[in-house]
């Protein structure tokens, strides 16, 4: 059914920390690695070693430059995968019922054997989270690693999404947003987790933590007061030298 559930028991999703992401693309690689050989059709590449490589990815990392009114520009790395929206427009447009949102945990999935590859769900997603695989001709998207998080064949530490498990900076967190005491709920509350394109009305489950304000050097350097110049105006020999040099042609 491509009508959306009224509410879901759990709201599983990710918190992505734009402050700590270092832009290494490790999550991109681990996501592709896990998902090309597990749930559903593989993620194909076209011309991978040729002139025009291209392929299917469920998670991509952009980088943006932000220039504040004052001070230096900041570089923000920006991982983007499906946000498992509560009001997922990609689900309701699907003519076949292949796209659905699970009642039990809110994960948005594609039943690939029902997908006709019309592409309409990718048109409906504002975030570019769905890609039609050029080889298999079915719609691929982030599964929230549904085949890891409940997988009892994996050691418990691995029962999180591949991208979360792999991130060396701890910039991706997985949990249940329906539980106000979960790690992701607490992080979102404490760090002002935000929605992407809230005006699109998709109510994304995934939240993004904005970069924290940069520390200013005067705030951190406890030795700074001791390093202040002792005399603003040079005196004695140095004072004489300063005057003599200034008096010379081209001196100031």
């Amino acid at each position: 059914m491509t009508t959306l559930p009224q509410s879901t028991e759990k709201k599983l999703g990710l918190v992505i920390d734009l402050d700590t992401c270092v832009g290494c693309h490790a999550c991109v690689v681990s996501c592709k690695g896990w998902n090309t050989e597990n749930y559903g059709a593989p993620l194909s590449d076209q011309d991978p070693y040729g002139k025009e490589p291209s392929g299917t990815f469920l998670n991509r990392v952009h980088s943006y430059e932000v220039q504040p009114d004052e001070g230096h520009a900041a570089l923000v790395h920006f991982p983007k995968s499906c946000l498992h929206c509560e009001d997922a427009p990609c689900v309701t447009v699907c003519p076949t019922g292949a796209s659905y949102k699970r009642v039990e945990d809110g994960i948005v999935l594609v039943n690939e054997s029902d997908c006709i590859g019309c592409g309409l769900c990718a048109w409906a997603c504002p975030y570019g989270a769905r890609e039609l695989d050029a080889e298999e001709k079915v719609m691929k998207k982030c599964t929230l690693c549904v085949d890891r998080i409940y997988n009892e064949n994996l050691p418990e530490v691995d029962r999180v999404p591949a991208c979360v498990r792999t991130c060396p900076a701890g910039a991706r967190h997985f949990g249940d947003f329906a539980d106000p005491d979960s790690n992701v709920s607490i992080l979102t509350a404490e760090r002002g987790g935000m929605d992407l394109m809230p005006e699109q009305g998709t109510k994304p489950v995934n939240k993004y933590l904005p970069p924290r304000e940069r520390d200013r050097s005067e705030d951190v350097d406890i030795l700074a007061p001791f390093l202040d110049p002792i005399a603003a105006e040079p005196q004695g020999f140095m004072g004489w030298l300063d005057k003599a040099l200034t008096a010379m042609p081209g001196g100031r």
């Binding site: 025009e52 504002p126 935000m194």
Partner: protein, 293 residues
């Protein structure tokens, strides 16, 4: 959006084909026998030809039957249901006219409404998309319906009606372009809201996720030059409206001139439909720095 030929051919030909079916369903022109057969043959060639073209853009056309199942939520599914229902009912109605020389008026009206419904549901597939602000407006279905009934009138030889409907559609088309050009800027979606970083300062793309291209760029990042688009708009106006209107006004225009008017109109609609897709800005392009607002 990528102007895929399959979708452009489909929406142009089917739009006009279902338009003709609607006129025939309402009994204009009141034809029977072989003349009716000719009219129905043209309408079915256009409507069905378009539908077949549309299936070529599916990844798995062999599963197309599944697309009839989600009519409760999906406009694409509703379109499929409407199209098949319209074609079946109009076939029955047409058989009455051609083989029995009788007009089953009730059937005709239902078939006509379903034909109009098919074009309306097609338009709603695009209109519903908030991700494409240019389409997300009631003028989109107004334009599709305008092209459907005016093109249909032209084919159905209802020249007096065609004249006014063409004029009306031309006005709607201009409004659609005029409103559309600022739709993305008006929508409030931009790189600042897309990244949520707007509160920090001005946001600018620094590095794309990959050096190569991808599905999203191929499908959504198509851009057409302003000059190029303007020329095509003029061409569409001349071919789709000006020439057919002139032919209608021409005293004593015969079958040949009528054919010219119809062909000119169809080519004009193709140009307009190409622009409908090529000029549509999908908000995902923002992430790739493809939209300058």
């Amino acid at each position: 959006m990528h102007p895929a030929p399959s979708v452009i051919i489909f929406s142009t030909l089917s739009g006009i084909g279902f338009g003709l079916l609607a006129w025939l369903g309402f009994g204009y022109p009141a034809v029977t026998g072989w003349t009716a057969f000719a009219f129905f043959a043209i309408a079915y060639l256009l409507a069905v030809g378009g539908l077949i073209a549309s299936t070529t853009h599916l990844g798995h056309p062999e599963r197309a039957l599944k697309a009839f199942s989600q009519w409760r939520s999906s406009w694409l599914s509703r379109e499929g249901v409407c199209a098949v229902a319209a074609l079946l009912i109009m076939a029955l109605y047409g058989a009455g006219l051609v083989f029995f020389g009788t007009r089953w008026g009730f059937l005709g009206v239902i078939g006509a409404l379903l034909s109009l419904g098919t074009v309306f549901t097609t338009a709603m597939i695009y209109t519903q998309l908030k991700t494409v602000p240019r389409w997300n407006h009631f003028t989109t279905p107004a334009m599709f319906m305008g092209y459907c009934v005016s093109g249909g009138a032209l084919l159905a030889n209802q020249w007096a009606e065609a004249f006014w409907l063409l004029l009306l559609t031309a006005i709607i088309q201009v409004i659609v372009w005029w409103r559309g050009d600022t739709a993305l800027a008006q929508s409030g979606t931009n790189l600042a809201t897309a990244t949520g970083l707007g509160t920090m300062g001005g946001v600018r793309p620094f590095e794309p996720p990959h050096t190569g291209t991808n599905y999203l760029l191929r499908e959504f990042a198509f851009q057409v030059g302003r000059d190029h688009a303007f020329k095509l708009r003029i061409l569409a106006m001349v071919l789709a409206f000006a020439i057919p209107l002139l032919v209608i006004l021409l005293p004593g225009a015969g079958h040949f001139m009528a054919l010219i008017a119809v062909i000119s109109h169809i080519v004009g609609v193709f140009a307009s439909r190409w622009l409908f897709f090529a000029e549509a800005e999908h908000v995902v392009g923002l992430y790739y720095g493809k939209r300058t607002v």
